[in-house]
C-alpha cells in the first residue's frame, strides 16, 4: 500500500495504540494535519492554545497511563515552544513523542522561513531525536522512537519531519518484530552475586530504610516493594515522584523525604545504618548537603540507569537493572526480620511532627492552603488524580493529600516547571477518562498556561481546577522571608478576577474564602461533567515546613514551632 509520509505517521501512531495527540498546526506540518483529518475517526487531535501546553498534556497523559504521550507542532516557533515540556519530561523520565514539521530538505541550512535546527536545540533535553531525511525511513524511525521513549529509563523522543518527507510517497508496511538497536540495551536482571551482596547488607542491618522513588511505578514494582518492606520490616520513605509507590496509609510508610519532607523520614535517613534506594536518583532536594548525608549508612542502589549509580551518592552495592526484575530475584531469598526498636524510634519523631501540624492550630477567619488541600482530599475520598503546579501548594499537596495508588500524584519534580499543572491535568484526564482529575495550581503558575482554558472548554474535558490564590509567588516569597529579610521584590502579584476569567471561557466556577465553603465547592466541581474552576483565596504569607534550606544538612530542618512555642 502506497502512503504519504503524513499518512505513515498516522498509521504508525495507530499501530502503537495512540488514540489522542495534542498539537498546533502551521505551514511545515500542514500535510500531516491534512492526514489527521482523514484519520480523525480513530485518532483524536486536541487543539491546544500554545505548544508548551501540548507538550505538558502529552506528559500528563504519559504519567497517568505509563503509555507514550504524543504532541505535534510545526517547525521553528512551534517546535521551540515544545522545549520547556521536553526538558520537563526529560528530567522526570516521562515517555513522550514529539513530532515536528521541518522545512523541506533542500531548504535546510538556508535560514528558510521558520527554520530552526530543532534536533540541535532539543539534543540535550531528549532521550533521543531524529531528523527523517527519507520517507522510506519514516515507519522504522517512528517505531524506534516509541521503543526508545517507553523502554529502559523512559524519556522524551523527538522526530523532526521535513515537509517534503511528509508529502513523499512510499510503500507502507509497519516493521514487524522487535526493534534491535546496536547501542541500546537497557539492563534488566542482576547478577547472582549482586543479589546476594544486597541481601547480606539487608541481613546485617539494624536500622534500615527504603528510599522508594519514581522508578517503582515506572517498573510496576509496587507489590515487590511492599513485600520487601513487610517481610524484612523496613520502613519506607518516598520521594516526591515516588508518592503512590506504596499506599501512604501503610504503617511502614514514613512519608516523603527531602527538603520539604517529613522530619521523621529525614531524621531516620541520617540515623539509618542501611539505605536501600530503589528507582530514585538522590536529587539534591532529597539529600541536602552530600557531605553530611546518611554518613552512618551503607547503601544499596538499584536503578535501571547505570550512570545514576555512584553519581551523587556512593553505593556499597550498586545494581543496574529493572526494579521489578531485580526485586523478584531477591524476594525468594529474603529472610523475615523485625526492627521494632528502630520503628518505635521513628514513631516518636512522627508524633512530634503531628504536634506541629498546622491543621492542629486554631486559625479562625483564615483560610490556609493545607486546609484546602486536606479538605479536597477528604471530599474526593483520597481517590483523585491530582496534578500540581510548582511552589508552596505543590509541597503542601505532597504533605496533605496522601496517595494510595500509583500515578495519582503528577507533578514536575526535577525541572520544577511552573505552568505544568493545568495542561498536564488535561492530558491525564484524556489518558484516564474514568478517573477524577484535579489540577491544583498556584495563582502564579496557572497564569503561565491559562490559555489552555480554551482547550479545556472546547474539549469539554472534565478537569477540576483548584487555584490556590495567595496573591504571591509564594515559594519565592518564602525564600525572601527566610533568606532575604522579607524584601518581596517581584513576588506580589496583581491577579485577574479568576472567576470572571472562567466566565469568559464559559467555565463554571466558584470562589472560596472560608473553610466551611470548601466541601460545597468541591462537590459543585465534582457534579459537573466538564471543566470547572475554583479559586481558593488563602492566607497571603504562609510557610511550608519543615524546610531543609538549599545545601544545608538533611537533619538541619527549619520546623514550625509547636502551638504555644511562640512564633
Amino acid at each position: 500500500m502506497k502512503l504519504t509520509g503524513s499518512e505513515i505517521i498516522m498509521e504508525c501512531l495507530l499501530q502503537e495504540g495512540v488514540h489522542v495527540m495534542f498539537g498546533y498546526p502551521g505551514g511545515a506540518i500542514l500535510p500531516t494535519y491534512d492526514a489527521i483529518a482523514k484519520y480523525d475517526d480513530r485518532l483524536h487531535h486536541v487543539l491546544v492554545r500554545h505548544e508548551q501546553g501540548a507538550s505538558h498534556m502529552a506528559d500528563g497523559y504519559a504519567r497517568a497511563t505509563g503509555e507514550v504521550g504524543v504532541c505535534i507542532a510545526t517547525s521553528g516557533p512551534g517546535a521551540t515552544n515544545l522545549v520547556t515540556g521536553l526538558a520537563t519530561a526529560m528530567m522526570d523520565s516521562s515517555p513522550i513523542l514529539a513530532i515536528t514539521g521541518q522545512v523541506p530538505i533542500p531548504a535546510i541550512g538556508s535560514d528558510a522561513f521558520q527554520e530552526t535546527d530543532v534536533t540541535g536545540v532539543t539534543l540535550p533535553i531528549t532521550k533521543h531525536n531524529y531528523l527523517v531525511t527519507d520517507v522510506r525511513d519514516l515507519a522504522y524511525t517512528m517505531k524506534e522512537a516509541f521503543h526508545i521513549a517507553r523502554t529502559g529509563r523512559p524519556g522524551p523522543v523527538l522526530v523532526d519531519v521535513p515537509k517534503d518527507v511528509q508529502l513523499a510517497e512510499t510503500e507502507f508496511e509497519y516493521p514487524e518484530g522487535e526493534i534491535r538497536l546496536p547501542g541500546y540495551h537497557p539492563p534488566s536482571s542482576a547478577e547472582e552475586s549482586e543479589v546476594s551482596a544486597a541481601l547480606r547488607l539487608i541481613e546485617e542491618a539494624e536500622r534500615p530504610i527504603i528510599l522508594a522513588g519514581h522508578g517503582i511505578m515506572m517498573s510496576g514494582a509496587m507489590q515487590e516493594l511492599r513485600e520487601l518492606s513487610e517481610r524484612a520490616q523496613i520502613p519506607v520513605a518516598l520521594t516526591l515522584l515516588g508518592k503512590g509507590g506504596m499506599p501512604e496509609d501503610h504503617p511502614l510508610v514514613i512519608g516523603m523525604m527531602g527538603m520539604h519532607g517529613e522530619a521523621s523520614a529525614n531524621l531516620a535517613i541520617q540515623e539509618a545504618d542501611l539505605l536501600i534506594a530503589l528507582g530514585m536518583r538522590f536529587d539534591d532536594r532529597v539529600t541536602g548537603n552530600l557531605k553530611t548525608y546518611a554518613l552512618n549508612a551503607r547503601k544499596i542502589h538499584i536503578d535501571i540507569d547505570r550512570s545514576e549509580i555512584n553519581k551523587n551518592v556512593r553505593a556499597d552495592v550498586g545494581i543496574a537493572g529493572d526494579l521489578k526484575t531485580v526485586l523478584t530475584q531477591m524476594l525468594p531469598k529474603l529472610e523475615p526480620k523485625s526492627h521494632q526498636q528502630w520503628i518505635a524510634r521513628i514513631r516518636d519523631w512522627l508524633e512530634d511532627s503531628s504536634e506541629r501540624d498546622i491543621l492542629n492550630y486554631e486559625t479562625p477567619g483564615r483560610l490556609l492552603t493545607a486546609q484546602v488541600i486536606n479538605d479536597i482530599w477528604k471530599h474526593t475520598q483520597g481517590e483523585a488524580i491530582t496534578v500540581t503546579d510548582v511552589g508552596q501548594h505543590q509541597m503542601l499537596e505532597a504533605q496533605y493529600y496522601p496517595h494510595q495508588r500509583p500515578a495519582t500524584l503528577l507533578t514536575s519534580g526535577g525541572l520544577g516547571t511552573m505552568g505544568f499543572g493545568f495542561p498536564a491535568a488535561i492530558g491525564a484526564k484524556f489518558g484516564k477518562p474514568e478517573e477524577e482529575v484535579w489540577a491544583i495550581v498556584g495563582d502564579g503558575g496557572f497564569q503561565m498556561t491559562l490559555c489552555e482554558l480554551a482547550t479545556a472548554a472546547q474539549e469539554n474535558i472534565n478537569v477540576n481546577i483548584a487555584i490556590i490564590n495567595n496573591f504571591f509567588l509564594g515559594m519565592v516569597r518564602q525564600w525572601q522571608e527566610l533568606f532575604y529579610e522579607k524584601r518581596y521584590e517581584a513576588t506580589p502579584l496583581f491577579n485577574p478576577d479568576f472567576c470572571k476569567l472562567a466566565d469568559a471561557y464559559r467555565i463554571p466556577n466558584r470562589r472560596v474564602t472560608e473553610r466551611d465553603e470548601i466541601e460545597d465547592a468541591v462537590q459543585f466541581a465534582r457534579d459537573i461533567d466538564g471543566p470547572t474552576l475554583i479559586e481558593f483565596v488563602v492566607e497571603k504569607e504562609e510557610m511550608v515546613y519543615p524546610m531543609v534550606p538549599a545545601g544545608a544538612d538533611l537533619h538541619d530542618m527549619k520546623r514550625r514551632p509547636k502551638p504555644g512555642e511562640g512564633s
Binding site: 540535550p124 527519507d134 522510506r136 522504522y140 538497536l181 546496536p182 550512570s307 553519581k311
Partner: protein, 194 residues
C-alpha cells in the same frame, strides 16, 4: 622545559554508529556533564557503518567510568570500554614544521629524527615538516627536543588506542537503514552492509 605527561590519563574507547550528528551528540554530552576531555579522536573502522573514538581524560578510572556509563546511554553509541588496566597499544601522530634555514639546524633535526620513529616528509630551503608517530609520552619528549630549533607550526591527531592480544573490541550488527539497503538491492548489490 620538560614535558609533563600526566600519569593519571585514562583512555576510553567507544564504537559508535557512523551517522550524521553522532559526534555532536557526544560533544553535547561532554559539555552538559562538564566532563573534561584531554583529547578525542574519531576514525573509521573496517566496517563502513561503525566509527571508533578514543577519548583521553586526565582523571582517575572512576571518572572515566562515569564518562563511559554516560556515553553508553547514547543510542548511537554501540559499545564503550575503559582501558585503564588492559595492556594496549597507543599512537599519536604529529606533523611538525621546523626552521631549517642553516646547516646547524638541519644537522640537529636529522640527528634527532634518527633517534626517534620520525621522518622528514617535506624539505624546503627555509622549513621542513617532520612526521612523528609514537606514544603520547615519546611525542612529548621528541617535541621538547625539537623545540629549541624553532617549531613554526604543529598539529597532533590525538591518541588512538587498541587493546593488545586477542581482546577484540568489535561488534556485530546489521544496520537497519532500510533506504540504504533498498538502494543497494535495487542497484544490484548484494545487500551486505555490515
Amino acid at each position: 622545559m620538560t614535558s609533563q605527561v600526566d600519569i593519571n590519563k585514562v583512555t576510553v574507547v567507544a564504537l559508535v554508529e557512523n551517522e550524521p550528528g553522532v559526534l555532536n551528540r557526544i560533544a553535547s554530552l561532554f559539555r552538559r556533564r562538564a566532563f573534561n576531555i584531554d583529547s578525542l579522536t574519531v576514525g573509521r573502522t573496517h566496517k563502513p557503518h561503525i566509527s571508533r573514538m578514543t577519548i583521553r581524560v586526565v582523571a582517575g578510572p572512576e571518572y572515566a567510568r562515569k564518562i563511559a556509563t554516560n556515553l553508553q546511554k547514547l543510542v548511537n553509541v554501540i559499545d564503550v570500554r575503559v582501558l585503564d588496566n588492559e595492556p594496549h597499544v597507543e599512537r599519536d601522530l604529529a606533523l611538525i614544521k621546523v626552521r631549517n634555514d642553516d646547516a646547524e639546524s638541519r644537522n640537529t633535526i636529522t640527528e634527532i629524527c634518527d633517534r626517534y620513529p620520525a621522518r622528514i616528509v617535506d624539505v624546503g630551503p627555509k622549513v621542513a615538516i617532520i612526521e612523528m608517530v609514537g606514544t603520547e609520552e615519546i611525542l612529548e619528549e621528541f617535541i621538547d627536543e625539537v623545540r629549541p630549533t624553532g617549531i613554526v607550526e604543529m598539529i597532533r591527531t590525538g591518541v588512538v588506542s587498541m587493546g593488545r592480544g586477542t581482546r577484540i573490541h568489535d561488534t556485530n550488527f546489521t544496520r537497519r537503514d532500510l533506504a540504504k539497503i533498498q538502494d543497494e538491492l535495487s542497484a544490484g548489490g548484494n545487500g551486505n552492509v555490515i
